[in-house]
């Protein structure tokens, strides 16, 4: 991951600040940076969202395609993740530099999102055992300024909210054959229920305390961080430890509690925002990438 080099003195300054609940940019330990969200930014996807978190900038596009359900789960659709670490984000990603990170990210995303607790996978089934919707979630990192997971998870939730899957019907034929029929009206579509879709909160252990939404500098001061995905009810769906250092059980417990609290608080304003945007309808002036 993108890293910055900082001196020991700077490190000390950051650690001391965190100890006093005052971070370099003036935030408290449980505060997020300024966040911007816009949905429906890529017209040829079925759902898309762009999220800016500080200087971290990610774009998520979702395309729905018809596929075959997995043999073990014949009545469920599934999600596929691909994270593209564009060299725009940081020169380190040039060539195949971002590949490792991309795979790591997409694996984590798969764990967090592609399960029936997060998304109603059964609603993606078209005909059991034969056809289901596969949601291809493509994440593009446009700029990295720390806390990628949180930004991506918010963007995915927003993009899923924005996703409109064309309505299809299974036409049974006399001889038992099945045919997929597509509705002729482009407005006739199915939405994904995003109520239970979790958000990821990454907590960085700095000194004896932990912070959310760490910047690259703060990250450099931390030995380990904990990734927690939390639903709007405060249910933890996934916990992962990131980084080389170790965490003692007590601080893991503390961090989880913080994560739950912060995560729970994250959902309500996000949903409110998305609904507000949606209600503006097609008349909304799009900002896109130039705004």
């Amino acid at each position: 991951m993108a890293t910055v080099q900082i001196s020991e003195a700077e490190k000390l300054y950051v650690v001391h600040g965190v100890r006093d609940d005052l971070r370099v940019d003036g935030r408290g330990c449980e505060d997020y940076r300024h966040t911007e969200i816009e949905t429906d930014v890529v017209s040829n996807t079925d759902g898309s969202a762009k999220v800016t978190l500080g200087h971290t900038n990610v774009l998520v596009g979702i395309k729905a395609e018809i596929g075959k359900p997995k043999p073990m789960l014949p009545d469920e659709g599934y999600l596929e993740f691909f994270v593209d670490c564009s060299a725009n984000a940081t020169p380190e990603f040039e060539g195949r530099g971002g590949e490792g990170l991309g795979i790591e990210l997409s694996n984590t995303l798969y764990k967090v999102f592609s399960n029936k607790q997060s998304v109603d996978l059964k609603s993606l089934c078209i005909s059991p055992g034969e056809h289901c919707w596969v949601l291809y979630v493509d994440v593009l990192l446009l700029q990295c300024d720390g806390n990628l997971f949180d930004a991506i998870s918010v963007a995915i939730k927003a993009a899923l909210f924005n996703t409109k899957i064309p309505k299809v019907r299974i036409a049974e034929e006399e001889d038992g054959g099945k045919e997929i029929e597509l509705s002729d009206d482009p407005y006739d579509c199915v939405r994904v229920n995003v109520e239970n879709v979790p958000c990821i909160v990454t907590l960085c252990k700095i000194g004896h305390r932990h912070v959310v939404d760490a910047t690259l500098q703060e990250k450099a001061c931390s030995v380990a961080s904990l990734l927690i995905s939390v639903t709007h009810k405060g249910l933890v769906t996934c916990v992962r430890k990131l980084g080389g250092g170790s965490l003692d059980p007590e601080s893991i417990f503390e961090m989880t509690e913080t994560g739950k609290r912060v995560g729970k608080a994250l959902h309500a304003p996000l949903m409110e925002l998305l609904q507000k945007e949606e209600s503006l309808g097609s008349k909304r002036q799009k900002v896109g990438f130039l705004g």
Partner: protein
């Protein structure tokens, strides 16, 4: 301004795809009206004083038709009365999507200046573009777009001009909504009926299905057609079969569905009876369901014609259907039988034919009988029946409801009175799809500028052969001379023979309008006393015609031969020649025979003739067939162009002389282009016929105690030569005529897509057409290929594309076939004209075929073929026994064999004005109750006519 158009579609592989298109809106699209001051249109199309007098719209107005009006009432819109029409882009796009022919016609109308049709691109206009709303169907959206455009127009045109726009729509809802929005909207029928200038236009209105005044009883006559989705699903699952419906020419209750299988395989499914045919019209693409094997039937050999309007008396029809099924047939004669469950694509076109005026006076509904017997009668509505009777008219089909015995159609135009030479010629050209309109200006613009001279530039890559003693030999009156010959002695004792073909490809450059037109026409069509050129006359009769004493460009094929006609050396080159003489076959023959003549031309001819004889002998040795078909030639009256005499074509030595060298040139060129371009050479093949084709020939020969061997062309040729019967000199010719009927069609093909190249009839392994580029497009392609091969011309991509080449071959084969049919029809028509004033003739003829209820007779004197029916509608049928094995037909104790000599009367049967035809009746042998008395007794002859 930028908008996005988003829609979802299903791909062929079953996936769902979201498609987003950018859609730009502009503010510089003009309204196209002369009265408008806002728009900066330099050449407005719509007039400032649009004048279409109508009872409904007493004010000057522009018309805006909706999609369905354009689709169904295109005949009306094409009328020159209808002018100042605004065609919206929405309408145009929908029309294009739904019917290609109508789209082409409306485009033509738009391009016609006098019609003042204006296309308004409302979909790109900033103020008239609308987006589809949630819950709105695509059709509703388009209707709304049309209304918005009409609204825009009515606001846009300044009030001072006092011009209004009128929306024409047949859709009730659309009309209501338009009226609510304060627009002027009429139904198409209402509007057309209100036009003062031309009340006859009403006849051209298409009958729409919602017309309440259906003549037929509400009784459902036909099973419902399945919806397309169900058909497609059925075809996918193999329940239904897709194929092209072909009606039977001789029996209106029978038809075939031709199913294209994998590769070259194809099968036919028989359909019998009105219910099974289920409203399919000849050439429609249909879905059929196979019947269980126990219901399979055999094709009947009965000739049945749908006579007259009898929509009501179904009984008779049922009887006829029963008659079809009654006969017991051997199991192996049964054919897969099916029924039509739905129509996938109608292939309706305008049909030529005549009106059968309804017997009820004052009736406006009449039946129309198409000239093509495979097309059912069509019911049309007209108030001009009296004036249209006796005229050839064109009618289009509008639909075929399930409760109607006949399809509904509408009158399009009149071609002239029936029996007129011009009218009938027009009819046969239209019916055979022969493009015969004058060449467009665009095509003519690619002609060389006159006066034309040979420049140095042209001489590049060309050999100067002007010094050679070249001459041409053609039929009398030929103006498109495309071949010339020369022969001279070489110093080494050998002979040099040259075939010089007009260099048409020099004038027709690939890809331009002239080339496309020629490629579409495919061939020049020769009718009696008329020629429909493939290329404009300037080329066909002047610049490309190798006339005498002028310098002409040629493509030469020059051989060095020894005196045994063995080719020692072949050379191809583009050249310039100067023909020394244009001779007819007879003139050339005279020169050869006249020993006193010893000039260069005559010597050259003699040399050619000598070699040709050797070549021909060699060819026959290899098994080339000499077949015959009774060809006739009319002597035309130079003033009236009516045929005054008829003679069978005479063949002279010089005919075969020219033919031999043309064959030789074609074969040499075929070999050359195939060697150079093995993938994309355009060749011609003649497949050997399947052995079953010869069955009738075997049977016929057996009846005369002869054996015909058909295992190979050589054996066939030999046994035909040996088949002679003493005292029956015409027998051999009859046998050859019969053999001709057994043959397959020769076809063009692309060498890269086929492996069998043989030409069966000519007994050569490879063949092509090189020698008549003025009248055949295939030869132009061959010229181009050869020119590339010898480095005289450059190539172009389509020439080397074997699939494009194959598509071209298909068109050429189709045009070629149609030209032949047209030619035959023309001969038939002129034969009728010939017999028209000759009363009843008494002639000798031979039985060519024996059918179940008729015999087909050939009159050698006229080369005329006719049918003698033994069944009459109004008379009890004589006792007939048909033996299929020999075959013979025994009528009241007299047995008719093939090749029997009979005497018949020939007369023109004009009693049925729909189809005038040559009628034959049996004179000898005398069979009481069947044969007719000799024609010299007038009253009897009349009675015979009445018998029909």
């Amino acid at each position: 301004m930028l908008k996005y158009k988003t829609f979802v579609k299903k791909t062929r592989s079953g996936g769902i795809l979201k498609v987003v298109r950018e859609h730009y809106l502009r503010d510089d699209i003009w309204c196209g009206s002369e009265v408008c001051v806002e728009c900066k249109d330099e050449t407005p199309v719509l007039e400032k004083d649009p004048c279409m007098e109508s009872n409904l719209c007493t004010f000057p107005h522009y018309l805006i038709p909706d999609t369905n009006v354009v689709l169904h009432q295109i005949d009306v819109l094409e009328d020159r009365l209808i002018r100042n029409v605004i065609i919206l882009q929405t309408v145009l796009q929908e029309v294009r999507h739904r019917s290609a022919p109508v789209y082409k016609r409306i485009k033509d109308a738009i391009h016609t200046k006098e019609k003042n049709f204006y296309t308004f691109t409302n979909e790109h206009h900033r103020e008239t573009f609308i987006e589809r709303e949630p819950g709105e169907s695509a059709n509703d959206r388009n209707d709304r777009a049309i209304r918005v455009a009409v609204q825009w127009y009515s606001k846009h045109i300044p009030d001072s001009a006092n011009i209004k726009v009128v929306l024409l729509t047949n859709d009730r809802l659309n009309k209501e909504k338009a009226e609510q929005a304060g627009l002027i909207a009429y139904k198409c029928e209402e509007y057309i009926k209100s036009l003062i200038a031309n009340p006859e236009l009403i006849d051209q209105l298409a009958l729409t299905s919602d017309d309440k005044n259906e003549i037929t009883s509400s009784k459902i006559l036909f099973p419902e057609h399945l919806p397309l989705s169900q058909i497609q699903a059925g075809i996918k699952s193999g329940k239904y079969i897709q194929g092209t419906f072909r009606a039977n020419r001789d029996n209106y209750l029978e038809g075939n569905v031709f199913v294209q299988g994998e590769g070259d395989e194809s099968t036919e499914i028989l359909l019998q009876g009105l219910q099974q045919l289920n409203r399919a019209v000849h050439q429609d693409v249909v879905a059929v369901e196979l019947l269980p094997r126990k219901d399979w039937v055999a094709p009947s050999a009965v000739v049945l014609q749908d006579d007259g309007p009898k929509a009501e008396d179904d009984e008779q029809e049922e009887e006829e259907e029963k008659k079809l099924q009654m006969k017991q047939v051997a199991q192996q004669a049964l054919k897969p039988t099916g029924r039509v469950v739905g129509i996938i694509k109608r292939n309706w076109r305008p049909y030529c034919g005549m009106l059968s005026v309804s017997l009820i006076k004052q009736a406006t509904r009449h039946l129309f009988t198409p000239a093509d017997r495979r097309i059912p009668k069509i019911r049309i509505e007209t108030r001009r029946a009296d004036s249209l009777a006796g005229q050839r008219i064109m009618v289009a089909i509008d639909g075929w409801p399930k409760n109607s015995r006949y399809p509904n159609g509408h009158f399009m135009k009149s071609l002239g009175s029936a029996g007129d030479r011009e009218t009938e010629t027009e009819v046969l050209l239209l019916e055979h799809d022969v493009p015969h309109l004058p060449f467009s200006q665009n095509v003519l613009s690619f002609l060389p500028k006159m006066p034309w001279t040979i420049t140095d530039d042209v001489m590049k890559n060309r050999v100067d052969l002007r010094h050679l003693c070249v001459c041409s030999v053609d039929p009398p009156g030929c103006t498109d001379i495309d071949d010339a010959l020369h022969c001279r002695d070489l110093e080494n004792g050998n002979l040099e023979v040259g075939v010089h073909i007009a260099d048409v490809s020099h004038f027709i450059r690939p890809g331009n309008a002239l080339d496309q037109e020629a490629a579409n026409r495919g061939t020049t069509v020769y009718l009696c006393g008329m020629r429909i050129d493939m290329v404009p006359e300037l080329l066909s009769s002047n610049l490309c015609s190798l006339r005498s004493d002028v310098e002409r460009l040629a493509f030469s094929c020059i051989w060095e031969m020894n005196h045994n006609a063995e080719i020692l050396n072949t050379r191809f080159t583009k050249s310039v020649i100067n023909s020394k003489a244009s001779l007819t076959y007879a003139e050339a023959q005279m020169r050869i025979d006249d020993t006193s003549m010893n000039d260069d031309i005559t010597k050259s001819l003699r040399g050619l003739n000598k070699l040709a004889k050797i070549l021909k002998a060699g060819r026959i040795e290899k098994g080339a067939l000499t077949l015959s078909s009774p060809e006739v030639r009319f002597h035309m009256d130079s003033e009236t162009h009516d045929p005054i005499d008829l003679q069978t074509k005479q063949l002279m030595e010089t005919n075969s002389m020219v033919e031999e060298f043309m064959l030789l040139a074609n074969i040499s060129v075929a070999q050359k282009i195939y060697d150079e371009f093995s993938e994309c050479a355009l060749l011609r093949k003649h497949p050997s016929p399947p052995s079953s084709n010869y069955d009738i020939l075997h049977k016929a020969a057996k009846a005369k105690n002869l054996v015909i061997h058909t295992e190979s062309a050589k054996e066939l040729a030999d046994s035909l030569n040996d088949a002679e019967i003493d005292g029956f000199p015409y027998f051999n010719t009859l046998l050859r005529i019969l053999t001709t009927r057994c043959m397959m069609q020769a076809v063009y093909f692309c060498s890269g897509l086929d492996s069998d190249f043989r030409h069966y009839g000519l007994a050569t392994p490879i063949y092509t057409h090189f020698t008549s580029p003025i009248r055949r497009y295939s030869d132009i392609i061959v010229h181009r290929l050869l020119a590339v091969a010898i480095g005289a011309d450059s190539t172009y991509p389509t020439l080397m594309d074997k699939h494009k080449q194959a598509a071209l071959c298909n068109n050429l084969n189709y045009r070629h076939k149609m030209a032949q049919y047209a030619q035959r029809s023309s001969v038939a028509f002129h034969t009728q004209l010939f017999f028209k004033n000759r009363g009843i003739l008494n002639e000798e003829g031979f039985i060519l075929f024996v059918r179940k209820n008729a015999i087909i007779i050939l009159i050698p004197k006229f080369g005329l073929e006719g049918t003698v029916f033994f069944e009459n509608k109004n008379k009890p049928s004589p006792k007939m026994v048909f033996n299929e094995e020999i075959p013979t037909l025994t009528v009241e104790g007299h047995t008719f064999n093939m090749f029997d000599c009979v005497r018949v009367t020939i007369s023109l049967d004009a009693s049925n004005i729909q189809h005038q035809k040559i009628r034959m009746a049996l004179l000898e042998p005398v069979i009481p109750g069947v044969s007719v008395p000799p024609p010299d007794s007038e009253p009897e002859a009349k009675k015979m006519k009445l018998d029909r």
